[in-house]
Structure formats: structure tokens, C-alpha cells
């Protein structure tokens, strides 16, 4: 049923937005731009596995646009979008290789890709290749954050797989 999926997409978008705004309100752990958990991605991953690619794309793009409006930071919009697009492309390309039990692996790969995309955008914006020095730290934080958000989505999905959320 399409209506059911539509409603679930809206709910997931709202959840993702709340997670995004709350995370933004917490002071950063490190003085490095881009090191964060990315809690909102739990809901994108959830949508990808529970509803499908198109719905996940809706959750992600709406969250990025609305999140940037809510937090009022246009700079973060550019970085968010470049990282988000790149990692989402990777996500839909690789999804077929990763069943639900390996969701966390896909999440890690996408998180790392997201950070690489953001850094590439930063290099482009500042015209300074020197900030590529952050690459190792961003890959490391991508692995940790990706594993965490991926496991969150995976464990929830595995527990509710009996519930009828499909069609």
C-alpha cells in the first residue's frame, strides 16, 4: 500500500530531522570539521532496507534541505549535500551485495565515502589542498560512526522484521 509507505517516509524524515537538530546542538567532540556520528543516517538506512531506494532518497534529501533551513547554516548545506549525494550513490550501487545482516558494512563504506565527499567539497571551496591532511581522521571517524549508525538500523530492522511494514 502506497499510503502506508508514504506515511512511514514522513515519520522517518521527521525522526531524522530531530536527530540531526539534536546532534547539531551538542558541542563537537573534536575541533575537526566533519567528525560526528551522523545519527540521522540511521533513518536513511532504515528507509533503504524497509521501504526501498526511492523512499530513502526522499528521507535523505528532505532531511538535508530542511535540516539546513532549521539550523540556518548554508555552509553546512553545501558540505552535507556533496557528502550525502556521494554516499547515497554508493549506497544504491552496493545495496544488492549486502543483505540485512551486513547492513553495518554498507553503512561504514557509505560513512567513509560521505566524509571523503565532504572533504573534497572543502578542498574545492577553500582552493587549498592542504586540508586533505584531515583525510585519515575523517576515514577513521567514518568507520566508527558508520558502524554505530549501521548497527542501530540493522538491529532495529532485524527485530521488527516480523512486523508487516512492506507493501
Amino acid at each position: 500500500m502506497k499510503t502506508k509507505k508514504l506515511i512511514l517516509t514522513a515519520i522517518l524524515t521527521a525522526f531524522a530531522l530531530v536527530a540531526f537538530v539534536i546532534e547539531g546542538a551538542i558541542p563537537p567532540l573534536t575541533p575537526i570539521y566533519g567528525v560526528k556520528l551522523g545519527l540521522a543516517n540511521i533513518f536513511t538506512l532504515f528507509a533503504l532496507y524497509a521501504l526501498g531506494t526511492r523512499y530513502a532518497a526522499a528521507v535523505l534529501s528532505l532531511r538535508i534541505v530542511l535540516g539546513s533551513i532549521f539550523t540556518g547554516q548554508l555552509v553546512s548545506f553545501i558540505y552535507s549535500l556533496s557528502g550525502g549525494l556521494l554516499s547515497f550513490l554508493l549506497m544504491i550501487l552496493l545495496k544488492r551485495f549486502f543483505p540485512l545482516k551486513q547492513l553495518w558494512v554498507l553503512s561504514v563504506l557509505c560513512a567513509v565515502m560521505h566524509n571523503i565527499g565532504q572533504l573534497a567539497a572543502a578542498v574545492f571551496m577553500t582552493q587549498t589542498l592542504a586540508i586533505a591532511y584531515y583525510l585519515p581522521v575523517l576515514i577513521l571517524s567514518g568507520i566508527i560512526a558508520g558502524a554505530f549508525t549501521g548497527l542501530c538500523a540493522q538491529l532495529v530492522l532485524m527485530r521488527i522484521s516480523k512486523i508487516q511494514y512492506k507493501s
Partner: protein, 126 residues
């Protein structure tokens, strides 16, 4: 188990990244000449050894002002109007491989060295 293989792969990459990070952040600069860049172009070049007293440089950008404090042998971002304050939290510029960066205002402060490899990597500047 596929999961186990992935755990090993990711752990390996993580440790590798940590190693590289620790290595490059420990490299301290030989030269004391710093360059201040705004929007990718050089604003000012300062030899930190020849600075006497304290001096403030203010750069205005899209997201307000960046105030750079220069004193003998020392340069830091004193204050910034950008939302994240990452450049201010960076503190004093110490390593040739870790520049002070303000992404919102596109300000970069880094050591200029002709002897180390860092300069070749930053060739895109200017």
C-alpha cells in the same frame, strides 16, 4: 563469516589511519614563515621570528570577521564570527601539516616551507 572478515578489514584501515594521523600531526615546521590565505589567494606572508609585539589582522568574510593574532614566533586565530569556531579551537599554529582552517570564511593559515614536502602538496594555492 563475512562479518568477521569485514571487522578485520575495517580495524586494519582504522589503525592505519590512526598511525598516519599521529605521524603527520607530529611533524613540526622548520620554517617560521606563515602564509594567510583567503578564498585561496595569499593575503599576507609573515616571518614569525621578525614580529615584535602583538599584532591583529582582521579578515572580513561572508560569515563575519576572523581576527588573527600574531606575536613573536606565534600565530593563532583569536576570534571568529563563524558558527563552528573550529579555527579558534585549533589554537596556535604548530605543525606544517595541519593548517588552521576556517571553512565558512575560507581562511587558511599555514606554514610556508620550501624545504618540506608539504609545499609541493599545496601547490594549488595562489
Amino acid at each position: 563469516m563475512t562479518n568477521r572478515i569485514w571487522i578485520v578489514v575495517f580495524s586494519f584501515v582504522a589503525v592505519l589511519c590512526l598511525g598516519i594521523w599521529l605521524f603527520i600531526s607530529s611533524v613540526s615546521s622548520q620554517s617560521m614563515i606563515v602564509g594567510i590565505y583567503k578564498d585561496g589567494s595569499l593575503v599576507e606572508k609573515i616571518d614569525l621570528n621578525s614580529v615584535t609585539g602583538e599584532r591583529e589582522i582582521t579578515l572580513s568574510g561572508e560569515y563575519g570577521d576572523n581576527v588573527i593574532l600574531v606575536s613573536n614566533g606565534r600565530i593563532e586565530m583569536k576570534s571568529a564570527d563563524c558558527p563552528d569556531k573550529i579555527c579558534v579551537n585549533h589554537g596556535e599554529l604548530k605543525s606544517s601539516t595541519s593548517p588552521i582552517v576556517c571553512l565558512p570564511n575560507k581562511v587558511v593559515i599555514k606554514f610556508e616551507g620550501s624545504t618540506d614536502g608539504a609545499d609541493a602538496k599545496t601547490g594549488a594555492v595562489g
